[in-house]
């Protein structure tokens, strides 16, 4: 068996049956820790240094939180990952695979093979808040929500413009409505806390949705 799964429960990446889970078995040389306690579970894995790769499912946190960091030289056989997923929508087929400066190339290769064999697509990135997709799309979503407030165009015209003009399958307003504005709030708030970039500050409509969710 190529990989083994340890499920700590509540995984956002693998909330249901998936080829990666079906093809797993005991004693694999790639260990995949999934669920909200994935990072915590690392400490309990005996001799994890001897495995080809240990893959930790991440939330909004950096991998370094679980591995520790060492003057820019950090990196081992431990990688982070998350399947990109917007709010309540189904997880996408994209896995963002998080590496550190000193991560072993063979560990990256083994991780890629494990995910790709299960039909997933892999994008590798350094250990940074928001990884690739959130870092790029959250300012765009906040901008769309702000421009809706400012009356740049109606919600429908904003969506139509971005669909027809850029070939996006769905406009930003419809997409955020479908997947949950409150979830967008949580992701972009975490990025704003981490990076202090005003583009990540939750837009008013996201704040409202968050407040109403609590109420």
């Amino acid at each position: 068996m190529a990989h083994t799964i340890v499920d700590t429960g509540g995984s956002r990446s693998f909330p249901g049956p998936h080829a990666l889970l079906r093809s797993a078995g005991p004693g694999g040389d790639v260990l995949v820790l999934i669920g909200t306690g994935a990072g915590m579970a690392l400490a309990a894995v005996e001799k994890h240094e001897s495995l080809k790769a240990v893959l930790i499912e991440l939330g909004t946190e950096c991998l370094g939180v679980h591995t520790g960091e060492r003057r820019g030289g950090e990196g081992s056989n431990v990688l982070g990952f998350a399947r990109f997923r917007l709010g309540d929508g189904p997880p996408s087929d994209l896995v963002e695979l998080v590496r550190q400066p000193g991560t072993k190339p063979e560990s990256i290769a083994a991780a890629k093979t494990a995910f790709e064999s299960a039909g997933l697509h892999v994008a590798v990135c350094m250990d940074t808040p928001g990884r690739i997709v959130d870092r790029l799309v959250r300012p765009y979503y906040n901008g769309a929500l702000r421009k809706l407030d400012e009356g740049l165009a109606t919600a429908d015209d904003l969506d139509t413009t971005l669909r027809l003009g850029l070939g996006y399958p769905e406009g930003p307003i419809a997409l955020l409505e479908r997947t949950g504005l409150a979830h967008h709030h949580d992701v972009t708030k975490a990025l704003h806390d981490a990076l202090a970039d005003p583009g990540f500050a939750p837009a008013r409509r996201a704040q409202v949705a968050k407040r109403r969710q609590k109420a």
Binding site: F84, S92, D93, L94, E96, H121, V122, A123, V124, C125, M126, T128, R131, I132, V133, R135, L136, V137, P139, Y140, G143, A144, K147, G151, L152, A153, T154, D157, L158, T160, T161, L162, L164, G165, L166, G167, Y168, P169, E170, G199
Partner: protein, 291 residues
């Protein structure tokens, strides 16, 4: 409300030629103006080859194309646009160039003629200023390639009359296009969102967060976009991205719109994208071979 029958298209580059195709194909008498006969000849050749493909793909009959092409004339003299009910300008993206053109057109065209600007970033109110008819100037931003894309962003300057807007809107519909109403706002909708988004992707490469191919894969697979941001910039051209940033930043002072230093380095090194065979990717003719 004046009826639109004859269309002028000023500027016969890629955008102007595409707009002329859209208008002529919808049955309007269309006059293409460019000071350069070479530009007009090139546009005519491209137009004829485009319609030949339309016939091949059975989108149009040979008979229909004959009628369309007979509706499409050209001129190197501005006076050739005197009979137009609307003139769409698609000249170089520079405020002074556009202002000068509209000022001259004002002396040539009758009172009812509407001037539409295909600008993607400049302000309609500023373009209209000094035209002598700023109530009859409207923004009509087509998307590239115009002959294939349905979207037109329609926007009004501070002095644009409601009648001008309504006439332009109906004209878009009569051409079979999909207009959206937006404001005289830097970058309107499309460029307002895409210029900073693409810059963010460039900065991600610059910061060593991920390789271009990983960023493009991530965006396409996570969101279903047809192209990743770096592929898109290679297609548009790094030089064009630089110009867009400069125009945009000057209007907004938005740090996300400011040109990333990597773009300037790539332009200086001749890495302009597809057209020079190297940008964020290397290209062998039209095929992509590495990232």
């Amino acid at each position: 409300m004046p009826e639109i029958k004859t269309i002028g298209v000023a500027g016969s580059g890629t955008m102007g030629a595409g707009i002329a195709i859209v208008a002529a194909r919808a049955g309007f008498r269309t006059v293409a103006f460019d000071a350069s006969q070479d530009a007009l000849d090139r546009a005519r050749r491209q137009t004829e080859s485009f319609f030949a493909k339309s016939v091949e793909r059975k989108k149009l009959s040979a008979e229909q194309v004959k009628t369309i092409l007979s509706n499409l004339s050209s001129t190197t003299k501005l006076e050739g646009l005197a009979a137009c009910d609307i003139v769409i300008e698609a000249v170089y993206e520079d405020l002074e160039v556009k202002r000068a053109l509209l000022g001259k057109l004002n002396a040539v065209c009758p009172d009812h003629t509407i001037f539409a600007s295909n600008t993607s970033t400049l302000s309609i109110a500023e373009i209209a200023s000094g035209s002598g008819r700023d109530d009859r100037v409207v923004g009509m931003h087509f998307c590239l390639p115009a002959q294939l894309m349905k979207l037109i962003e329609v926007s009004t300057g501070l002095n644009t009359s409601d009648q001008t807007f309504q006439t332009a809107w109906k004209f878009c519909l009569a051409m079979g296009q999909t207009p959206v109403k937006t404001k005289d706002h830097p970058g309107f909708i499309l460029n307002y969102f895409i210029v900073p988004f693409n810059n963010d992707a460039i900065r991600m490469v610059e910061a060593g967060i991920a390789e271009p191919a990983d960023i493009d894969t991530a965006i396409k697979k996570a969101l279903g976009y047809p192209m990743g941001p770096l592929e898109l910039i290679d297609w548009v051209g790094l030089d064009t991205q630089l110009k867009l940033c400069e125009a945009f930043y000057k209007m907004t002072y938005d740090p996300r719109a400011a040109c990333p230093p990597l773009v300037r380095r790539m332009v200086a090194a001749g890495h302009l994208g597809r057209k020079t065979g190297r940008g964020f990717y290397k290209y062998d003719r039209d095929g992509m071979f590495g990232g």
